[in-house]
Amino acid sequence: MQTGTAKLTIDAVEEDLEARFRSFVASHTDRAVRVAWRLVGGDEAAAKDVAQEAFLNAYRALPRFREEASLETWFYRILVRRAHNYRRWLALRKLWGAPWLDDPPDPAPSAGSDPMLRRRIAKALDRLTRRQREAFVLVHVDGFSVRQAAEMLGMPAGTLKSHLHRALTKLRAELEDLGNTLVGGGEDELP
């Protein structure tokens, strides 16, 4: 009898976990893929792989997290780390001679904006340091708060703000020749 009760309890807990996980995946799929896409450098397949692996990590860690907010922060922390690992792997592949990887495909070929402009932005982001890029993407582009992003990146908020400032300064310098096209509000015209 006791075993039966215990089994029922475990089943209920597992059902609860399943339900929580389904809800978490449903509410974070789009954002996770978008953040991963920007962090891996515009590769859609890689972004989906990174997001999928991060979700699986979240599933395994689900019992440890009671609050959705802490799970979310933790999840994006894993996602950022996996995206970084992907970039490192890609850099190694390039280093050890995979010539077809020298020129990455156009990020988001089906998106409406100018492909050359996207490529320029991708390269400008690529030239930032890892932390600057991650801070910029998480806070300025994807709208996480400084506190959340600092937790995700495992650094104090002050340090994160410093990375944000440097990232913005570099991007301004890198993209200033786009002039009216980017900063002045022109519609995706090339210089």
């Binding site: 515009g42 988001a108 904006s113 100018d114 509000g185």
Partner: protein, 135 residues
């Protein structure tokens, strides 16, 4: 203006515009309904295949590797029959023959002028004469 929960730094107008345009332009295409369904289906299927305690998943391969490593150590550490047996005279002779063969392979006797020319001496005189003309 930032909301009370928004602790992001307030940007100058130009910077805010730059960030806005980067976010707009550097964005992936939105997932279609079928792509989203497909993605979520794969995630849930993989999660369903994951046991409640992922640590147990690693138990079998770790145990297999540990057993194989233990077997290998036992095999390599076992007393070898040749380790303790004294070298017999026959074995000693074989070893020295192999050493001589190896030495001759590295230093061919035909290139060594100091060796006795036994083969040449055994040749008939006319062959020696022809050889002396040619060489």
């Amino acid at each position: 203006m930032n909301s009370p929960d928004d602790d992001r730094p307030v940007l100058a107008r130009e910077d805010a515009e730059l960030v806005k345009r980067v976010a707009e332009i550097y964005a992936p295409p939105s997932l279609t309904a079928s792509e989203r369904r497909d993605f979520q289906g794969r995630v849930l299927a993989r999660a369903g295949a994951t046991p409640a305690r992922p640590g147990l998943r690693l138990l079998v391969p770790i145990a297999t590797i540990a057993a194989a490593a233990a077997m290998a150590m036992l095999w390599m550490g076992r007393p070898h029959p040749n380790d303790s047996a004294p070298i017999s005279e026959t074995e000693s002779t074989q070893v020295s023959r192999i050493a001589i063969w190896e030495y001759e392979l590295i230093n061919p006797p035909e290139l060594d002028d100091t060796r006795p020319q036994e083969e040449v001496e055994m040749l008939p005189d006319e062959y020696v004469a022809i050889a002396s003309l040619l060489l």
